[in-house]
């Protein structure tokens, strides 16, 4: 089976590194961005199979980022998973409303994360 590519967008450097390591260990290819701007730059040339993005980031937050991606016809079909520290209902719903397929709350277990990713990729 072909290796899937995941674009990870996370502004916490250490966490970004850990997520990439986990995905690596679980057999995924990864692309990394520390913010939405860098992520959009990457998306111009590369098309990942899934985007895993933090919500609370610098100038452009997760909800704005997903909107911008979905506006691009060539990117509209890429599924999104939000990685969020925000636990309240409203924001979770915002994520779903924003077009994300799933969300994962921090802290997460690596197994839980990979399970969710596989579920979304199979849809």
């Amino acid at each position: 089976m072909e290796k899937k590519t995941i674009l990870v967008v996370e502004d916490e450097h250490l966490l970004l590194h850990n997520i990439v390591s986990i995905l690596d260990l679980f057999g995924f290819n990864t692309l990394q961005a520390a913010n939405a701007t860098d992520a959009l730059a990457i998306l111009e040339t590369k098309k990942p199979d899934l985007i895993l993005s933090d919500v609370m980031m610098g100038e452009i937050d997760g909800f704005q980022f997903i909107k911008m991606v979905k506006e691009n016809p060539s990117l509209i079909n890429i599924p999104f998973i939000f990685l969020t520290a925000l636990a309240d209902v409203i924001d979770r719903n915002k994520g779903m409303v924003g077009g994300a397929e799933a969300y994962v709350t921090k802290p997460f277990s690596g197994k839980e994360l990979v399970k969710t990713i596989n579920q979304v990729l199979q849809k």
Binding site: L14, S21, I22, M56, F108, G110
Partner: protein, 628 residues
């Protein structure tokens, strides 16, 4: 024979005397034989015969014979009979002759030792010539008209142009004698004899003058007591009776009893007073205005709260300016009948130029004037207090909302700041497990272990910062300055934590100026120094050691923490001291963004100031200046 001549002599003397009188004199015996009559009498009554010839004739015949000379012959005859029957002395009774002359009649029965001898009649001409119907006419012509007039329960009277009574009906003067007496007298002449207190009639001079002189109708009201002593009110109307030439020759008057009317009026006034009083007791402003916007009624509240004394006019817009569009819009729609009721809020300046808020309600009024314009009743109640309470409430709610939003943001931030290190710790641990299982080199594994430790430290610092803020908020962090040597204090801190720091770099210290002992809060200053120095190390990894400089001048001390680290973007400098904000360039360097907020608070407690100078990728200087 001698007696006879003496008698004749006496008689002649008497004749001479009596004949010299200008008044007409006649004496008749009780058998109606004329015993004596003088020349004047014969002349007056145009008797063709001499007095001697008439003497001894039957007076009755004479009466009939001369009756034609009188205006009312049958009346004249009847009256004589009446007088003779009554035998009551009469003085100056008017008798009208056909030719317009008026005679005055005196009558007296003559008795001697209780025996009637005869009747004495004296006539003389009256000074005035009055073309006046005498009462004699009326009593004889007791026609239907007259009996009606006399039985109507209304006072009716007629005066001549000289203000003398010429007719008075029974209701006006029930006493027949007084009715007869009043004829020919003016009101004041009559009242000289009969005091007003007992009488119900008197005529107001002014009104009478007006009617006579200007030939106009006049009215007046009088108050008196009726026969039973009850108070009664009358309204008298005087009508001028005018000849073809426009001269007022008579005045017709009638009076009606208006006591009931007066009583009703008085009761009505009492009721009106009652309701007006009630309206004046309330605090609400009540006004009634007509279609011309004229104020018909204002209660006391209006006077106390809104009345603009500088403008006397009774127009509404002198007190409620036309610029209050809504008010007038509502007013006109009620006046025009579009609606029965309209209301709203209005802000008005009352006395002393104090502005108040009123809730107003405009109701359709009951009355309509001749031009079919309606009226309105407006009620205004002062809601200034309520409005102010409302505004306060809105303010409070707004603040509550803001506070809630802040709380939410804070909770979110705390959640994020806790969950992120936790996510790093848990994922690091997982990776360590997976690496151990797959036999990865221990250097790699060690990195993840180190990450766990530093994240724990990060969370601890964060918790401490939150606790500090919470204590500050609760007022538990008191400013307690004590004069301690700053240099000793700084050395102590450096020994403990910064010689060396955990990356083995040593903080350097530079002191300028002479030390001065001054009071400062030890715990706060410790926090400031630790925070600034920690930051200087954190944000300058692999760069030369940071430096702490103390400079004493005359009135203050400045300590600066200088590093050659990543620097701060100029736009971020402003925001650093507000909550939760970190520089955009912090990248992988962990921090919560709360620390500097506390630092600023502590610096403020010392009346000091804090300044930042920085250049990206060159370094940063944090300077704190505290006055002594």
């Amino acid at each position: 024979m001698d007696n006879n001549s003496t008698y004749n002599q006496e008689r002649n003397k008497l004749k001479l005397v009596l004949n010299s009188f200008t008044d007409a004199i006649l004496f008749e015996s009780k058998e109606r034989i004329i015993e004596f009559v003088n020349d004047s009498f014969c002349n007056l009554f145009k008797i063709k015969f001499s007095p001697e010839a008439v003497t001894g004739t039957n007076s009755e015949e004479g009466v009939i014979a001369s009756s034609f000379q009188f205006k009312n012959p049958s009346r004249f005859i009847y009256r004589i009979e009446e007088i003779l029957e009554e035998r009551i002395p009469i003085k100056s009774e008017e008798v009208l002759l056909r030719d317009g002359r008026v005679l005055l009649r005196d009558y007296s029965p003559i008795s001697f030792e209780n025996e009637l001898l005869g009747h004495l009649w004296i006539y003389r001409e009256s000074k005035q010539i009055l073309d006046v119907p005498s009462k004699v006419e009326y009593s004889i012509n007791e026609s239907l008209f007259e009996s009606i007039v006399n039985n109507i329960p209304v006072d009716i009277f007629v005066l001549n142009a000289q203000k003398q009574y010429i007719f008075v009906n029974k209701h006006c003067l029930p006493d027949e004698r007084k009715r007869k007496f009043i004829i020919g007298k003016t009101d004041s002449e009559y009242r000289r004899f009969y005091s007003v207190r007992h009488e119900r009639n008197f005529i107001e001079e002014e009104a009478l003058d007006e009617t006579i002189n200007q030939a106009v109708l006049s009215h007046f009201e009088t108050k008196s007591n009726d026969l039973s002593g009850m108070e009664c009110y009358k309204r008298t109307t005087l009508y001028p009776v005018v000849t073809e030439q426009g001269v007022v020759e008579k005045v017709l008057g009638f009076s009606i009893d208006i006591s009931n009317e007066k009583e009703a009026e008085s009761k009505l006034n009492t009721i009106i007073e009652q309701y007006t009083h009630a309206l004046n007791c309330i605090n609400d402003v009540v006004l009634i205005a007509n279609g011309d916007l004229e104020l018909d009624f204002l209660n006391n509240a209006f006077h106390n709260q809104l009345f603009d004394a500088s403008s006397d006019e009774g127009k509404i817009y002198k007190h409620i300016p036309f610029q209050k569009y809504d008010f007038y819009k509502h007013l006109f729609s009620v006046l025009s009948g579009d609606v029965n009721n309209a209301g709203g809020r209005i802000n008005l300046k009352g006395e002393n130029d104090v502005a108040s808020w009123y809730r107003y309600n405009i109701h359709k009024g009951i009355l309509t004037n001749e031009n079919k314009q309606g009226s309105i009743v407006a009620v205004l109640n002062d809601i200034t207090k309520e409005v102010s309470l409302e505004e306060n409430l809105l303010e409070v709610v707004k603040r509550e909302k803001e506070l809630n939003e802040l709380k939410s943001a804070f909770v979110n931030m705390v959640s994020h700041e806790m969950r992120t290190p936790l996510a790093i710790i848990s994922s690091s641990a997982e990776i360590i497990q997976m690496m151990l299982a797959s036999g990865k080199p221990k250097e790699e594994i060690e990195n993840y272990a180190n990450n766990i430790l530093s994240e724990v430290e990060r969370m601890t610092t964060f918790m401490n910062d939150i606790l500090m803020i919470s204590k500050i908020e609760a007022g538990k962090i008191e400013f307690k300055p004590e004069p301690v040597s700053l240099i000793s204090f700084v050395n102590e801190i450096m020994q403990k934590a910064y010689l060396p720091w955990k990356d083995n770099r040593n903080l350097s210290l530079l002191v300028k100026g002479t030390e001065r002992i001054f009071p400062f809060d030890v715990k706060m200053l410790r926090h400031i120094l630790q925070n600034l120095i920690d930051n200087s190390f954190k944000y300058s990894p692999n760069k030369p050691s940071p430096q702490l400089r103390l400079r004493y001048s005359n009135s203050y001390i400045t300590f600066s923490v200088i590093d050659s680290g990543i620097g701060i973007h100029p736009d971020d400098i402003q925001k650093l001291f507000s909550s939760f904000s970190r520089g955009r360039n912090v990248g992988s360097i962990s921090g919560s963004g709360i620390g500097l907020v506390v630092v600023k608070y502590f610096v403020d407690q010392h009346n000091g100031s804090i300044r930042i100078k920085s250049k990206l990728n060159v370094g940063t200087i944090f300077s704190v200046k505290i006055p002594f």
